[in-house]
């Protein structure tokens, strides 16, 4: 950082530590933020980047350590004081009021008033702000009717209305399309050109390198490195994040399966009320078939129809060549079908229960006599599975909520592997998972296929689909829009086909 002594430091944290219960979220972290820089925070889930951002914004209070603003040590620091000094957080979960208008949201909490009576200058103030940044939003519009990207703009305007000098964005792109991400980046550049400082917390390393001036990489609650983004590459950042060098991420693909083998799963012209239209596909034992597509293209709905969650209105589904008609999740479990759903917190796991109970949940019949559980058998099986999927530490009695995202996802795998499924439907199997856990999950998927399981893989990470699958179907508007051979295709090929003639060949997030 010697080269940047000339730039002035807006805010500085020194030796900041923070614990949550038993977890040391931050340990002795020190960092300087310069005026007019875009500063990226990188790190695996649980590395402490969000915690640091929240302490800087006053949302969390540190246990020890100091914060300096403009060189003065601040003794009390909360969101109100932080906003007063121009430090504003734009959180992952946006904090706006859906029932209020855009303008009302922007000035929420800082309305002009005389003795508590609102003044009538909302429009004027909004216009002034609009001139400086210019998003072109309708100030009268009800916030609830806006898209996520538009709401984010409202959040940014809200920060600017408070004359923010430091704007902290925590995972701002996680719900945006590629197009919207580009627009956000343009906005961030504009904010920078006005002399504001932006902290950009993200999982997406391409974005980080593309837009940031400096990057801080965190691991286990500590800062591993802060350096100029221009000196770093994706590989170097990942290596700092992991603390080791990155060998090959993806396991070797097994040989394909001959077309003469009876498919484990076959869909013939399947349509549903949930938007699946005329889908036909097959998955053979030992084969990984990928479904690539954009979020909302209907891939999840295909999975849900197979598993028996949503009814099929037309077409047929076959398992082992036999019609699978009376579908329900219960029947599917009995047939040896597993569905790893896209949202592990909402659909996959019972967060308040133990790892052991979560793993055994679909298989209680097989470990009970009558209806009485054989708890010793349950414990033994849970321990085996926890080791198989390498959950660390392997504590089966701990609540799932106490584990990191990567470990939780492994619990979800363990849960479904306990039934030795012969057909496994994976919906976004590595969403929100750190790189270390991703590698383990890829190994598990490949190993399952090698042992003869049929796997239907849904993922929005295009590299993942291409590297793991034997065949890839492209899904668009609820129907299969094409197929490609992943062995000879690149992400660009995939995107080009995916967007078809829409000519939106942008880097997919």
């Amino acid at each position: 950082m010697t080269a940047e002594n000339s730039t002035s430091t807006l805010l500085r944290v020194e030796h900041v530590s923070k614990r949550f219960g038993a977890t040391q979220a931050l340990h002795q972290v020190s960092l300087e933020l310069h005026e007019g820089e875009i500063h990226g925070f990188a790190g695996e889930n649980g590395a402490g980047k969000s915690t640091l951002a929240k302490i800087i914004s006053g949302l969390y209070q540190q246990d020890s350590g100091e914060i300096y603003v403009d060189g003065d040590r601040v003794t009390k620091w909360d969101t109100a004081r932080a906003q007063h000094r121009g430090v504003v957080l734009i959180a992952q979960e946006l904090s706006l009021v859906p029932e209020m208008s855009v303008a009302q949201n922007v000035f929420l909490g800082i309305e002009s008033n005389r003795l508590g009576v609102l003044s009538d200058d909302l429009q004027e103030r909004y216009q002034l702000l609009e001139e400086s940044i210019g998003f072109g939003l309708d100030p009268q519009k009800r916030l609830g009717s806006l898209s996520i990207a538009e709401r984010q703009k409202v959040e940014i305007m809200r920060a600017l209305a408070r004359d923010a000098r430091i704007i902290i964005m925590d995972e701002p792109t996680s719900s945006l399309t590629a197009d919207e991400v580009d627009k956000l980046h343009t906005i961030i550049q504009k904010l920078k050109s006005q002399g504001r400082t932006i902290i950009y917390v993200t999982h997406f390393l391409e974005s980080l390198l593309e837009i940031c001036d400096r990057v801080t990489v965190m691991r286990d609650g500590q800062i591993v490195k802060t350096s100029d983004a221009s000196n770093e590459t994706k590989v170097s950042i990942v290596e700092y994040m992991l603390g080791r060098s990155l060998s090959h991420t993806f396991p070797e693909r097994s040989a394909g399966v001959e077309a003469s083998v009876t498919p484990k799963l076959e869909l013939r012209n399947v349509s549903t009320q949930t938007g699946v239209r005329n889908v036909s596909l097959t998955v053979r034992p030992g084969e990984i078939v990928g479904l690539a597509g954009l979020v909302g293209s209907g891939r999840t709905e295909i999975a849900r129809a197979i598993f028996g969650v949503d009814p099929v209105i037309e077409g047929e589904i076959f398992i082992d060549g036999k019609p699978y008609d009376h579908r329900s999740p219960r029947q599917s479990v009995e047939q040896g079908i597993a569905l790893i759903p896209e949202d592990r917190r909402a659909q996959g796991l019972v967060m308040v229960r133990s790892v052991r109970e979560n793993i055994s949940l679909p298989h209680l019949q097989s470990i009970s006599v009558g209806k009485v559980l054989r708890r010793r058998v349950e414990t033994k099986r849970a321990k085996e599975l926890v080791n198989n999927v390498s959950i660390t530490p392997p504590r089966i009695a701990a609540n799932v909520s106490d584990f990191s995202g990567g470990n939780q996802q492994k619990v979800l795998f363990a849960k479904w592997l306990m039934g030795n499924p012969s057909l496994i439907i994976l919906d976004e199997p590595t969403r929100g998972v750190d790189i270390g856990a991703k590698v383990t999950i890829y190994e598990i998927i490949a190993e399952l296929a090698r042992r003869g399981a049929a796997i239907l893989l849904i993922s929005s990470e295009h590299t993942e689909v291409l590297e793991l699958s034997h065949r890839v179907h492209l899904v668009r508007n609820g129907t299969i829009a094409g197929e490609l051979d992943p062995r000879v295709s690149s992400v660009d090929d995939l995107l080009f086909k995916l967007f078809g003639l829409e000519n939106e060949l942008s880097e997919g997030r």
Partner: protein, 332 residues
Amino acid sequence: MADMNQGESLRAYSNERELTGGDRVITFLREYAVLILLVALFIALSFASDSFFSLANILNILNQQTPLAIIAVAGTMVIIAGGFDLSTGAIFAVANVLAAWMTVHFGSVTLGLALTPLIGLILGSINGLIVTRLKIHSFLATLASSLAYRAIAVLITGGALISVADPHFATLGREKFLGVFWSIYVLAAFVLVAGFLLNRTTYGRYVFAIGGNPEAAELSGISVDRVRVMVFGFSGLAAGLASAIAVSRVASGQPLAGTGIELQAIAAIILGGTSIYGGVGAIWRSLGGVYLIALIGNGFNLMNVNPLFKDLVTGVIILLAVAISASERKRR
């Protein structure tokens, strides 16, 4: 039947990193708050009042609280499963008048009292069907059904009492066997059965799962609706059983019996530390809650304090208990 889960969540804190000694103490106090308070109050009352620490007084408290304890035990399962049952008081009333009516009508005490829990089971199952088939939140469904059930109880008797002359009718509520009230044996057996169901069977595991995350449970192949119906049926059965004990005690069926007992049960469950958000909780906690509230009441009686202060103190203690568990959630 102590639940294994409490010890597990204690250990859960030390999951990814080691706990300090202080953390352990705080966690322990929080986990067992209801028992610690119960023991502390018990000791305090023993010193403060000469008449408290006697077998007769303690047996009386246990006997008096049996109906409430039975309802709270089954209610714990309802709340763990993510529901509420506000109709137990009304089911209690229907069972109350029918127990007396059947005893008089059939001329058999055994038959009359034995059928009482079944009436509860039927009314409770109806609640379960309303909740699952009509997809109405259990809070609203049981609020509405409680009005209907209470009205049925009043209609059956025309608002009057149904007295039972047979002296054997009062055995269950008043008599002792080997020095202990019959009702206490019934409670003990009920707690064992409920504890076994909740902690040792697939059914109990499903109760925790559907309360913790109904969607994940459904996708795990569990018939969530069936488990819900069973939970409400069991709660109704408990209200019927509790009512059988209560009706025997006063030897007459009363359409206004059990008014408010559903809220007392929920208060005891929450005081015990079972989460109203579902998915976690234990039967022993609710028993702790029942007897803690009972001791507060008993203490006020023994010390001759204005009984209005009893409700004030009970209310404040429940608020404190809920605030402590809320601070825990916030911290994590």
